[in-house]
């Protein structure tokens, strides 16, 4: 879970995969202007998403369960 309370990737498998791919696929593959901080500046919707990308998120905010569909 990110410190702000949202949890974009629920399982360890997703988190580890994201970390590898961010370093070795997403970051090198993006143009410099497309690099975004994950929380503060979400990726624009028009950028192609990876297959299996989780839309929305589930997690807890202030102790309450939250589920959001995008």
């Amino acid at each position: 879970m990110m410190a702000g309370g949202h949890n974009p990737r629920l399982t360890g498998k997703e988190r580890v995969r994201q970390r590898f791919l961010h370093k070795l696929q997403y970051y090198p593959g993006k143009s410099r202007s497309a690099i975004r901080l994950c929380r503060l500046r979400p990726l624009p919707a028009q950028l192609p998403r990876q297959p299996g990308h989780r839309s929305g998120y589930q997690g807890t905010v202030g102790g309450e369960k939250v589920e959001q569909q995008s």
Binding site: M2, A3, L10, G12, R15, Q25, S33, Q50
Partner: protein
């Protein structure tokens, strides 16, 4: 902005030499103007820490235990104080102005900082907190003549004897340290500490081709290859050793996620940012 930071001096490269036994005097002199951050032996590990009298500076170590990225992206920093009352809100930015010297970074550290520069300074608008630190920090790099057996910077196209992005490049021997000014900021540092140095204009550094370990990494085509492995079964095994503690992102020189929070109450408080991690867990897998 990157170009300006990395622009080399147009004058002849200024070189100065200092004997190793005079280095403590140099540390003391440099720290008078502001924080001097350099590799310090801290128990069994070496960490980049602010210099203090008697600090066990270790310039011979190749890799610090933790990346020096926190010189430019601190683990936590308060950047705003707020106070409210009488239907008014008072905001006061925390301004840091003093010059910083980062001493003893290696070429791999600088490559990582170059990656962070892309994230924080090649944005519109740029991250002013990060940019402010970059601009007021003089970076003194040390060339690696004897990489660690587990170093692999060659595989990533890094020359361990060069330091693009640094203001000064140092070459350490058993008895002395030769410093070459790469930028005007580096030249200014050598000149303001002039009495401690000897002229090094006659010194020549022979270009060496340093080979780091070969672990069989093949980076060519890797991004495209990984794109096809999103559902590869390897992920089902690889994650099992992960404790979701986030430490890998804290020691990683190129991880940069952060969080912004307020601390205080409605009448008074501060806004700070701190490192965050994509590896934290909410539920067990």
């Amino acid at each position: 902005m990157i170009r300006r930071l990395f622009r080399k001096s147009e004058v002849v490269i200024l070189k100065k030499v200092i004997a190793r036994d005079k280095l403590p005097a140099l540390w003391a002199h440099l720290s008078e103007q502001g924080p001097l951050i350099l590799p310090v032996q801290d128990g069994p590990v070496v960490l980049f820490k602010p210099w203090q009298e008697g600090a066990a500076v270790n310039l011979d170590v190749v890799n610090s235990a933790v990346s020096p990225k926190d010189i430019f992206l601190p683990r936590e920093e308060t950047f705003l104080h707020y106070r409210s009352g009488n239907q008014q809100l008072e905001l006061k930015a925390v301004a840091e102005e003093e010059p910083v010297i980062a001493f003893g970074l290696h070429p791999c550290d600088l490559k990582a900082i170059e990656m962070l520069d892309r994230v924080f300074m090649e944005q519109d608008p740029p991250d002013t907190l990060y940019r402010n630190r970059r601009e007021r920090t003089t970076v003194v790099a040390l060339a690696c003549n004897e990489p660690d057996p587990f170093c692999f910077c060659n595989d990533f196209g890094i020359d361990p004897t060069a330091a693009p992005g640094a203001d000064l490049l140092g070459h350490l021997t058993d008895s002395s340290l030769l410093l070459e000014a790469l930028t005007d900021k580096g030249k200014a540092l050598l000149e303001q500490a002039g009495e401690l140095f000897e002229d090094g204009s006659g010194e020549r550094v022979e270009k060496q081709e340093i080979k780091t370990a070969d672990f069989g990494l093949k980076l060519e085509g890797l991004p495209a290859d990984l794109k096809n492995r999103f559902d590869d079964p390897v992920w089902d095994e690889l994650y099992k050793s992960c404790l979701s503690c986030g430490v890998c992102t804290y020691v990683c020189p190129t991880c940069y996620c952060f969080d912004v929070e307020d601390f205080g109450h409605a009448a008074e408080g501060e806004r700070f940012r701190c490192w965050d991690s994509c590896m934290y867990k909410a539920t067990l897998p």
